[in-house]
């Protein structure tokens, strides 16, 4: 650095600490709320220190559900979220790796056309064409199925572009060498390309897992049965009940549970996450 001023460092620490406080406070409050009983939370005088209802609240949220029998327990929602997030991440990786392989390592008529057909999907997120997509999924009898939750969300070009970009950087000598060794397209893909792509696959997986886990509008529309709900839409339904007081302490416990998996992914796989984020946005 050009100059070193202790005061500037102190200011920097102060600002960053304030920033972390702002970033963490809403979650801290939710965590606290999830450890108190309903009356304490609803009374509007909730203390800023943890209560003693934590086990009770989380147990009820995960296994029992709300006071009324109509409320599904969160355990099933967590399973649904995991299935759809994994499905979206793995499905996208699968289809986009194959198509990028075709576009980069083969020459065939309509190659450019195929690439553009896929590329255009970048421009229109699912929110814009939500009802027609809903109708297609309904016609295919995919409402309330995992296929319906997963397939429409993997129809996008981000993965294909990412793998295409990565395959372009792989030295051609590798392919020449494999061909001299007598390897066909399958052997080359399996023995050379796949091992080289592990980091890229992992980075894309991290981003897509978070994307899939956090989906809201789409699962909200196509799931009608409570047993197919994901946790993210489950929380909101807990709060907007018409016939009873919302059980905020359970909703906050659910919110904490809904945050945990994707936040853990970001914190523990930070390197892959940053890489995936930067590369998918390029």
């Amino acid at each position: 650095m050009v100059e070193h001023r202790p005061l500037s460092d102190i200011i920097a620490y102060a600002i960053l600490t304030l920033g972390i406080f702002i970033v963490a406070f809403p979650v801290y409050l939710a965590l606290i709320a999830s450890t108190h009983d309903a009356a304490t939370v609803v009374g509007g005088r909730m203390p800023l220190s943890p209560g003693d209802q934590m086990l009770e609240n989380y147990y009820r949220a995960v296994f029992v559900g709300g006071a009324r029998t109509s409320r599904e327990p969160v355990a099933q929602m967590l399973i649904n979220s995991f299935i759809s997030a994994f499905g979206i991440a793995l499905g996208k990786i699968f289809i986009s790796m194959l198509s990028a392989y075709a576009v980069v390592y083969f020459r065939f008529p309509f190659r450019k056309t195929a690439f553009w057909i896929i590329f255009v999907t970048l421009m229109l997120p699912v929110e814009v064409r939500i009802y027609p997509t809903y109708k297609v999924v309904a016609d295919l009898k995919m409402l309330d199925t995992y296929a319906g939750l997963i397939l429409p969300l993997i129809a996008s070009a981000t993965g294909t572009l990412l793998f295409r970009q990565f395959f372009m950087t792989i030295p051609e000598e590798l392919l020449e060498a494999s061909r001299i060794d007598g390897a066909g397209p399958f052997r080359f893909f399996w023995d050379t390309l796949l091992p080289l792509s592990v980091t890229t696959i992992a980075a894309l997986f991290v981003i897509q897992f978070i994307y899939g886990w956090n989906q809201y509008l789409w699962p909200l529309l196509i799931t009608t049965q409570d047993s197919m709900q994901t946790i993210v839409i489950g929380i909101k339904k807990m709060l907007y009940t018409t016939d009873e007081l919302a059980e905020w302490q359970l909703a906050m416990a659910t919110a904490i549970l809904a945050m945990l998996p994707p936040v853990a992914v970001v914190v523990f796989m930070q390197r892959l996450f940053v890489r995936g984020l930067v590369e998918t946005e390029k």
């Binding site: 460092d9 609803v42 421009m123 939500i130 397939l151 051609e172 509008l217 993210v232 909703a251 906050m252």
Partner: protein
């Protein structure tokens, strides 16, 4: 750049492309073209028959005061969220770029909200600022401030803006920090030798060199506000009160689902498609070549 060595199989590349092409056609092109087609139709009240009405859905859409209101809400919402989240993130990023000892830890502690679902973020913020039970609504009431985001449109807007900014800071912070770290130190040293202080160096050297990142983030943030904030709005306000937080995307959803006006909803979708395509075109034309990591 194209590969000069390739495989010569004739059929295999098509087989490799088939899964993605099928999914793209079934779940992308088919519904997108349906949206365009539906925008020229009108369904009867029971959804049994539909007739071709030409541009009527569009003319009635642009005759609705609510539609202009939702445009205004979208513009206000996007500019507030983009301006606030970009400037706050830039402030944090410049501080984290000062070679601090704990920079790595600060980075980790700053970026995790990216992983919080927008709808969950919305729930956290409405809990904090809920008029009757919110922990932060209490001090507002002590100050005799009649805070009620459930009834007052401006308060509702303030709340969704805060939640949206809170979630977007992490993303902007990450890219700003990367942008700052890629600025050569020698340029800043040259500035210091010429006698420029830290503030002067920031505004005359760092900020201009950062502009590609800023511009890239601006476009990304606008796209974020358009689409990803749906969950926040639905969880916090449900578009209310009285449409004060109904953005254009939220209106597509609300009109199609609650009102059942599929033709009008489709026309709105088409308008949105045009806007998004324009935004994406801007992104590719100006951003692609300039941003460097």
């Amino acid at each position: 750049m194209e590969k000069s060595v390739v495989f010569s199989n004739k059929l295999l590349p098509y087989l490799l492309l088939i899964p993605q092409l099928i999914i793209t056609f079934v779940f992308f092109y088919w519904p997108a073209s349906q949206a365009v087609w539906q925008s020229f139709l009108r369904e009867d009240a029971f959804g049994l028959t539909s007739e071709f009405v030409g541009l009527e859905n569009y003319t009635s859409l642009f005759a609705q005061p609510e539609y202009y209101a939702s445009m205004l809400v979208t513009v206000v919402f996007s500019s507030l969220v983009a301006a606030l989240s970009l400037s706050i993130a830039l402030l944090f990023a410049t501080q984290a770029d000062k070679n601090l000892k704990a920079a790595g830890a600060y980075k980790t502690l700053m970026i995790w909200p990216y992983a919080v679902a927008p709808a969950v973020a919305g729930v956290l913020w409405i809990f904090m600022f809920h008029p009757s039970l919110g922990t932060l609504a209490r001090p507002l009431r002590w100050m005799n401030f009649d805070w009620n985001p459930l009834l007052n449109g401006n308060h509702a807007m303030a709340l969704v803006v805060m939640a949206a900014v809170w979630k977007q800071i992490s993303y902007n912070f990450l890219f700003f920090l990367a942008g700052l770290q890629s600025i050569p130190k020698s340029v800043l040293e040259a500035g210091a030798i010429d006698g420029a202080g830290p503030m002067r160096r920031f505004w005359t050297i760092t900020f201009p060199l950062l502009s590609p990142t800023t511009f890239f983030l601006l476009v990304v943030n606008v796209v974020y506000v358009f689409f990803d904030t749906f969950g926040i709005i639905d969880a916090v306000t449900g578009g209310g009160p009285a449409g004060a937080t109904t953005t254009m995307v939220y209106k597509v959803f609300a009109d199609g689902r609650l009102g059942g006006d599929l033709g009008g909803s489709a026309a709105q979708s088409v308008v949105l498609m045009v806007i998004v395509i324009a935004l994406t075109a801007i992104q590719f034309k100006y951003v692609e070549r300039k941003v460097q990591y």
